[in-house]
């Protein structure tokens, strides 16, 4: 218990230090682009895969229920709403935690174990500013974009299910999307995703920079980091959804 509280304390200090350096000079644009490309390149394929599957499967399930009430026309709108507000941020958050978060932790912890981070400090360069800040910025910008891709391919998935299996016309499909999905829902989903992205990047970097000693330190850091990302994302999701419903944000 004491160890857990101590850990939370250290994590809080770390997050505060990083946030304090987010706008500090120099602004390392090339590192931001490099990390953004890495995040996108590493995960676009799996995002497309999970996004289209999630949209199609959700459409299939909900279409079965709707057809019972002769309301198949709602399939696109209902899936769209679920995707935008909940499924896309949550599932792509999980996918990105496993794909990108783990890669960041593994990369940084290897750098610590090989004394590369110490070498950087020895040159008078702040590892939080050089290594962590660009990764957090890149995550917060790139991951919501990937989440939008997830939504887009998810809608394609449900469109094929709706028109192919439930014979919904294109016009009705589109009309119900417009009727049900509001801009504020999209913004809410993307904000949520930006928060998940920050959670992923900060936890990935924290565990990367604080691995346990020895060769197994890297593996252990990575597993711990990913498990914590998933948990914290879930908690943040519940909290944000609760706040949205109750405060009508």
């Amino acid at each position: 218990m004491e160890a857990k509280i101590e850990y939370l304390g250290r994590l809080t200090i770390f997050v505060r230090q990083v946030l304090g350096k987010m706008f500090a000079h120099p602004w390392r644009r090339h590192l931001f682009w490099q990390q953004s490309l890495f995040i996108g390149y590493d995960s676009i394929f799996i995002i497309i895969l999970t996004g289209s599957a999630t949209g199609a499967v959700f459409g299939l399930q909900i279409g079965g229920v709707f057809s019972f009430f002769k309301a198949e026309g709602f399939i696109g709108g209902a899936t769209g709403l679920a995707l935008v507000k909940e499924l896309a941020p949550l599932v792509s958050g999980f996918v990105l935690a496993g794909r990108v978060g783990s890669a960041i932790t593994a990369e940084l912890s290897t750098m610590v174990v090989n004394e590369q981070v110490e070498a950087m400090e020895a040159m008078g360069i702040d590892p939080l500013h050089y290594l962590v800040v660009p990764r957090v910025w890149a995550a917060v910008f790139t991951m919501p974009f990937l989440c939008s891709v997830f939504i887009f391919v998810g809608m394609l998935g449900v469109y094929f299910v709706g028109s192919g299996i439930f014979a919904v016309s294109e016009g009705l499909f589109m009309a119900k999307i417009v009727e049900l999905v509001k801009t504020s829902d999209i913004l809410f989903g993307l904000q949520k995703m930006a928060l998940f992205s920050a959670i992923i990047a900060l936890l990935a970097c924290y565990h990367g920079l604080h691995p346990l000693k020895g060769a197994e330190g890297v593996g252990l850091a990575t597993t711990t980091a990913v498990v914590q990302m998933l948990l914290v994302i879930l908690i943040a999701d519940v909290l944000m959804s609760y706040l949205q419903v109750n405060l009508n944000l």
């Binding site: 750098m111 090989n114 004394e115 070498a119 400090e121 020895a122 008078g124 360069i125």
Partner: protein, 249 residues
């Protein structure tokens, strides 16, 4: 001038530095000797402020390293070049980029001058031709030489070498030993601190030798003092025998 004043450092139960006191003269080559695990690397890290003493002080040019503020520490470290024991090259950068790194980060020179300097240090350490290689493609000895080039490139006031020749064949080791002397001669104001197991090289190239044993200094002085010493620890280090006061586990 670097002065250790009764520095103590322990990790958990293990006392590594136990009231270590010595000083390093400016503009000279000082060797720090001691068996493996004696705290030599830890000593170097204290000079840079990468580790802080539990008790005692490390004073460099009249200022205590532990008492500097973050900005002062940054500028202080930029006066140093450090060759890490395992080179600590950045894996994600090529050889050329590794050497360029401190030049970009520390004293932004015009590109052409920077390039000239990189070529010069690469020639000095004999790694010309591997500009585009990544550290993972290099042998241990080559990595060390690139690490040395990276440390030398910004022309630091102090050069710290952590076992510069360990893991190299005798010819390369000889070349590096000569290079240490050559670099020191060419920059008469530069202070070199070399950590080593190699007593013969230390006697041949050092101006001042410091022998560590059980967290303290057993003997410090010019090479003749070491050759004539009757101290059993020094004699054992000379003979390389397992018999003597030093225990090997």
């Amino acid at each position: 001038m670097i002065t250790f004043e009764a520095v103590k450092k322990r990790f958990g139960q293990k006392v590594v530095l136990d009231g270590l006191s010595f000083h390093v003269e400016p503009g000279k080559i000082t060797f720090i000797l001691g068996k493996s695990g004696e705290g030599k690397s830890v000593t170097l890290k204290h000079i840079l402020g990468l580790m802080e003493p539990d008790a005692g002080r490390v004073v460099v040019d009249g200022r205590s390293v532990a008492e500097m503020n973050p900005e002062a520490v940054k500028n202080y470290r930029r006066r140093f070049g450090m060759l890490f024991q395992h080179a600590a090259l950045f894996d994600s950068l090529t050889v050329y980029e590794n050497i360029e790194f401190p030049l970009i980060e520390q004293n932004p020179l015009p590109r052409r001058q920077r390039h000239a300097r990189i070529v010069e240090v690469m020639q000095q350490v004999g790694v010309v031709g591997s500009e585009r290689a990544y550290p993972s493609e290099l042998s241990t000895g080559e990595k060390k030489r690139v690490g040395l080039a990276r440390a030398l490139a910004p022309r630091p006031d102090f050069l710290l070498y952590d076992e510069p020749t360990t893991g190299m064949d005798p010819l390369i080791a000889e070349m590096i030993d000569r290079l240490i002397v050559k670099v020191a001669r060419e920059n008469p104001h530069m202070t070199s601190v070399v950590i080593s197991h190699d007593l013969k090289a230390a006697l041949a190239t050092g101006d001042h030798l410091i022998m560590l044993y059980q967290g303290k200094v057993v003997l410090a002085g010019a090479p003749p003092l070491f050759r004539e010493s009757e101290d059993p620890v020094i004699r054992q280090f000379f003979s390389g025998s397992v018999h003597g006061p030093m225990l090997f586990m």
